[in-house]
C-alpha cells in the first residue's frame, strides 16, 4: 500500500514534467523537464527494487544518472552554440 503511494507520487511528478516537455516554450525548458522525468523514473525504480527486495536493478540508476547528465550537457552546449552563430 505504501509502495503504491510512493510510486504514484513519482508517476505524477513524471507526468507534470512531461506536460512541461510538451508545453515548454524553449528547448532548455524541455531538457530540464526531461531531466526531472528521468529522476522520477529513477526514484520509481528504487521504490520497486525495495518492494521486490532484490538490489540487482540498482546499477541501472547509476547509468541513468550519467546518461542524463551527458544529455543535458550536450543540449546546453547546443543551445550555446546557436548564440555564437
Amino acid at each position: 500500500m505504501i509502495v503504491a503511494v510512493a510510486t504514484g507520487g513519482f508517476v505524477f511528478a513524471g507526468l507534470c514534467a512531461l506536460v512541461r516537455v510538451l508545453v515548454g516554450p524553449s528547448l532548455a525548458d524541455r531538457v530540464a523537464a526531461l531531466d526531472v522525468v528521468l529522476v522520477s523514473a529513477m526514484g520509481a525504480i528504487a521504490v520497486d527494487a525495495a518492494r521486490r527486495d532484490d538490489p540487482s536493478a540498482l546499477i541501472v540508476l547509476v547509468v541513468m544518472a550519467v546518461v542524463g547528465f551527458t544529455a543535458t550537457v550536450a543540449a546546453a552546449r547546443y543551445i550555446m552554440s546557436e548564440e555564437k552563430s
Binding site: G9, A32, V36, R51
Partner: protein, 107 residues
C-alpha cells in the same frame, strides 16, 4: 516492508511531486531550472535512504553510488542550462541582472 522505510519513500515521492509541479508551474525558465536542478536530487536522496533501509547493505551501497552520481552531476548540468539560456535569450524578466557586465566584458 517496514513502515519506516515506506514512509521515508513516500516523503521522497512528495518531494518529487513538488519538483514536478515546480517545473510545471513556475513562470520564468530560470525558476523552472531551480526546481529541476535542486528538488529532484533531494527527492532521489530521500527515496534512496528509504530504499536502502529496506534493502540492507548490498542495496545501500549501490544506492549510495547512484545518489553520488545524481547529486554531483545534475546541478552542474542544470547550471549549464542556466548559462546557455542566459547567453542566448535577452533576460527581459530579470529585474536586476548582475551577470551582464561580467559576461559582456571583452575577453
Amino acid at each position: 516492508m517496514e513502515t519506516v522505510a515506506g514512509s521515508i519513500m513516500v516523503l521522497g515521492a512528495v518531494v518529487a511531486v513538488l519538483a514536478g509541479v515546480g517545473v510545471l508551474r513556475f513562470r520564468t525558465s530560470y525558476a523552472r531550472f531551480h526546481a529541476a536542478g535542486k528538488a529532484s536530487p533531494v527527492a532521489f536522496m530521500i527515496v534512496a535512504v528509504g530504499a536502502s533501509l529496506d534493502l540492507g547493505w548490498g542495496g545501500a551501497s549501490r544506492l549510495a553510488v547512484a545518489v553520488g552520481a545524481i547529486v554531483l552531476t545534475l546541478p552542474v548540468a542544470v547550471h549549464l542550462l542556466f548559462r546557455a539560456v542566459h547567453r542566448t535569450t535577452p533576460g527581459d524578466h530579470l529585474v536586476v541582472d548582475e551577470l551582464v557586465p561580467a559576461e559582456r566584458r571583452p575577453y
